[in-house]
């Protein structure tokens, strides 16, 4: 151990029933560095972080902070030691205001009483200066999107950190510009001698920001590397444990398979205050992308199609049949599937097992009196666990015990299992590791080849460009344009978005 080591873990082991999540892992964070923790879904990254911050009790090992032994028994204690953390799932209280979430436990006080005015002011300044977001900080957190919640959590952690900052997939729901803001903040903290642990499945981000990388695989330490001496392929090879060569993205689209017939057609569908009129159609076997920035109306559009939000206006036609008022149950009957963006509140049922979670949509499609035989359930579950490489000791494990990325895969399986004619996927690869991401992309293309229509939403424009036959671009809740075939590229999408400012304004006039 030397003088610039900040947080050092030695020989950490942690087991859960049926899983050895960490075995004899060493980790060392130095002062003034950004250190990425890499590994596949379920490799043990979040577990290591939770052990370091006292949320989970380690079975074995020691932790040193600035060369002195510590053993935090709670987040409270870790916080006192100067370690602040953003955990993988946003962990704030939705019933409190944004400002309070940031300052709870260290509220500004005047004469011994909480000074609310000052708290609101400070929160506004913090969010504006650090992350360039301007929102009403008095409103409850529940009224904001996942992205805002994630940024609130980041702002809080950044503001409280004094020695060590830990960020477990903080960027999973953020757009490029927000990520850049975060990186600026991180670099600034680094220059002040802080140590930062960063987890992300976006390789670009990891290579851009980190000085050093520690790789875990199956709970084992594979090694610690200098980022500058590592290539992408080398890194991924270490993560998955076999030779990896990044496939070229050109193996895409079988435009020939797209039928001439529309599966779904929408004219002027809108919901006041949420989404302005959308016009779109999806052919059988077509992959249609929705692209846009945060808050551009991607998710809102998907929710209108699936009937989660009722539209005030417009027509929706599915296979030549006009649907008057869409609702999720009807949507499932008509062969639609919707894989939601926010797995924690709209997706998983934590108390149920993996198999049960996978069956939910299929059961509802078949009707509750048409019970799916256990044998069939097991067959389906087995299939998807294998197909998507879901890491679990058993299909009867509670889904809440899975790692974040693996939960996402279960939700995806839930909808794949219904054999939908149109699958709406809202950020299907959020938090999923690179290997599985490509698996999912391949799966999408295969499904399309079989004649399934797909509506694909992703903040990762590379992914949109790679998978889609056609892309509709949104901005500020307006549909502003469309790209097709060869024209689809990240550059063109971004151009269209920035040109869209004019379109939006002209509508306003």
């Amino acid at each position: 151990m030397n003088s610039d080591s900040l947080l050092v873990a030695k020989g950490i082991s942690k087991g859960f029933p049926g899983v050895k999540a960490l075995s004899n892992v060493d980790f060392s964070l130095r002062k003034g560095e950004i250190h990425s923790l890499m590994g596949e879904n379920g490799a043990g990254k979040s577990t290591l972080i939770k052990v370091l911050t006292g949320i989970l009790k380690k079975d074995q090992g020691q932790i040193y902070l600035e060369n002195s032994l510590i053993s935090p028994a709670s987040a409270e204690e870790a916080k006192r030691l100067g370690i602040s953390t953003v955990y993988q799932e946003v962990n704030l209280c939705e019933n409190l205001s944004v400002a309070e979430n940031i300052y709870i436990g260290r509220e500004p006080k005047k004469n011994g009483r909480i000074d609310w005015k000052e708290m609101y002011r400070k929160a506004e300044v913090l969010l504006k200066e650090k992350l360039n977001i301007e929102i009403d900080v008095k409103r409850t957190l529940s009224s904001y999107s996942t992205a805002i919640q994630q940024m609130t959590a980041i702002a809080k952690a950044v503001d409280t950190s004094s020695g060590v900052l830990i960020l477990d997939e903080p960027t999973s729901s953020l757009d490029k510009s927000e990520v850049q803001k975060l990186f600026e903040v991180m670099k600034n903290l680094k220059s002040r001698g802080m140590g930062i642990i960063f987890v992300s499945h976006f390789l670009d981000q990891v290579f851009e920001i980190s000085d050093r990388i520690t790789v875990l695989r199956n709970g084992q330490l594979i090694g610690e590397y200098q980022t500058s001496l590592l290539t992408r392929n080398e890194l991924v090879s270490k993560m998955i444990g076999k030779e990896w060569i990044e496939p070229l993205l050109s193996q895409k689209k079988h435009a020939a398979n797209i039928s001439k017939k529309n599966f779904l057609m929408v004219k002027g569908l809108e919901k006041k205050g949420s989404m302005n009129p959308v016009h779109l159609s999806i052919k059988k076997g077509e992959v249609l992308g929705l692209a846009g920035l945060l808050g551009s109306g991607r998710t809102e559009t998907a929710k209108l199609l699936f009937g989660i939000d009722a539209s005030d206006n417009g027509t929706l036609v599915i296979e030549n049949e006009k649907i008057h008022s869409m609702n999720p149950k009807l949507a499932i009957e008509k062969g639609l599937g919707f894989c939601p963006e926010d797995r924690k509140t709209e997706g998983i049922v934590g108390e149920l097992t993996i198999r049960e979670n996978m069956m939910l949509a299929l059961q509802s499609k078949r009707g509750i009196f048409n019970y799916i035989p256990l044998k069939e359930q097991k067959k389906i579950a087995e299939k998807y666990i294998k197909l998507l490489n879901i890491k679990t000791p058993d299909m009867e494990e509670k889904i809440e015990n899975l790692s974040g990325g693996n939960q996402q895969k279960v939700i995806l399986s839930r909808w794949l299992a219904t054999n939908p004619s149109l699958l709406i996927m809202d950020e299907p690869t959020r938090g999923v590791d690179i290997g599985s991401k490509l698996e999912i992309r391949k799966l999408i293309l295969d499904l399309a080849a079989e004649g399934v229509s797909i509506l694909f939403i992703s903040a990762e424009l590379e992914e949109v460009a790679a998978c889609c036959d056609r892309v509709i671009v949104l901005r500020d809740r307006y549909q502003i344009g469309q790209l097709e075939g060869e024209k689809i590229s990240v550059k063109n999408i971004l151009e269209l978005i920035s040109e869209g400012a004019g379109v939006v304004e002209s509508v306003h006039d």
Binding site: I104, N132, S177, L294
Partner: protein, 346 residues
């Protein structure tokens, strides 16, 4: 109009509904019965319910953390009987009061400790506490014990005159101070805010590094203290100790909280709520008293009906809240400048 609708939001809609209910009941009573409009009738509402105001307010903290305290009524009976018998044995009145308050704190802290330390369900622990306290009452005496202590007689007869002929009791003064302190506690101290955080999402509160254990123990301690204080006020009011006092009053306290807009799921509600809940229940009782022919059980029926209505209202709010995860445009600052930046990054 816009301003008003802006002020009425889902957080205070129940409070406003309750206020409206009180005004409605008061209006109905004043129009229907002569003598109802008198100031003293109104003040009697406070005098008769001072103990309940204190207890419901203490309980509100517990409910906001997502818990419940079923032991409060039995503990009041326990306080009444232990006070009566200690006074009978010649102990000094102030010492007795101090002792019972201390007992309340210890009793509440004990329950809180069990709930937190062993992750027991508050229903179970406080149900046990309820039987225990009631059982202890019988151990001390099965008969009603009259209080003849001078200090207690004095406290009981003391009338604080407000606005001419009208008066309030010591109990009312205590309850007002208690409620004011509770409101302050909930809004202006860290402890108060932890209570809301724990009720909103315990695991998040833990991950945020908040003292979840301490907060849990503290709210039950507070509830224990408030039932002891309420017990004292009640004992002074009744001038007797009896094991059978206030059977089932814990439910009145819970009902007052619900009607006052404290969400049973935890995490929401204002501390002024329980008072309003108690007042509306008391108002119903007064009306039925004035009416004269109806049996007092009608109070229960009406309160039951009201509860049903308010729970429904709460449910609607929770459902609406779930739907309202709107991603409004104001969410994000996506002006054209930031878009250009996007383009240049990639």
């Amino acid at each position: 109009m816009k301003k008003i609708s802006h002020r009425i939001n889902e957080n205070n809609i129940i409070i406003i509904a309750t206020l409206f209910l009180i005004v409605l009941l008061y209006g109905y009573g004043s129009l229907s019965f002569t003598g109802f409009l008198s100031m003293q009738v109104f003040l009697n509402l406070f005098i008769d319910n001072a103990y309940l105001i204190i207890i419901a307010t203490g309980m509100a903290f517990v409910i906001i953390t997502g818990g419940i305290d079923l032991s409060v009524a039995s503990f009041v009976a326990f306080v009444s009987i232990i006070t009566a018998s200690l006074l009978e044995h010649g102990l000094h009145a102030y010492l007795v009061i101090l002792l019972t308050l201390l007992l309340g704190i210890i009793f509440g802290a004990g329950q809180g400790y069990l709930i937190f330390r062993f992750q027991l369900h508050p229903w179970i622990v406080t149900l046990a506490g309820m039987f225990l306290a009631r059982g202890l009452c019988y151990l001390i005496s099965t008969e009603s014990v009259e209080i003849t202590d001078n200090t207690f007689m004095f406290l009981s007869d003391y009338k604080l005159y407000v606005m001419g002929e009208n008066y309030i009791s010591i109990g009312v003064v205590l309850s007002i101070i208690f409620v004011a302190a509770a409101i302050y506690l909930s809004k202006y101290t860290s402890f108060g805010r932890y209570v809301y955080a724990v009720g909103g999402n315990v695991s998040s509160a833990r991950l945020m590094g908040l003292p979840v254990g301490k907060t849990t123990i503290m709210v039950y301690t507070l509830s224990g203290f408030s039932s002891a204080l309420g017990g004292f006020v009640f004992t002074v009011y009744m001038q007797s100790g009896y094991a059978l006092h206030l059977m089932g009053m814990e439910m009145d306290a819970i009902a007052a909280c619900v009607i006052g807009g404290i969400l049973l799921t935890g995490g929401a509600g204002y501390l002024i709520g329980p008072v309003l809940g108690v007042l509306s229940m008391g108002m119903i009782q007064t009306i039925i008293m004035f009416q004269g022919t109806l049996s007092s059980w009608w109070t229960k029926i009406v309160v039951g009906f009201l509860l049903f209505l308010f729970i429904l209202l709460q449910r609607l709010i929770v459902i609406r809240r779930g739907k309202k995860r709107m991603h409004s445009i104001a969410d994000l600052h996506t002006d054209s400048a930031s878009t250009k930046q996007h383009a240049s990054i990639s």
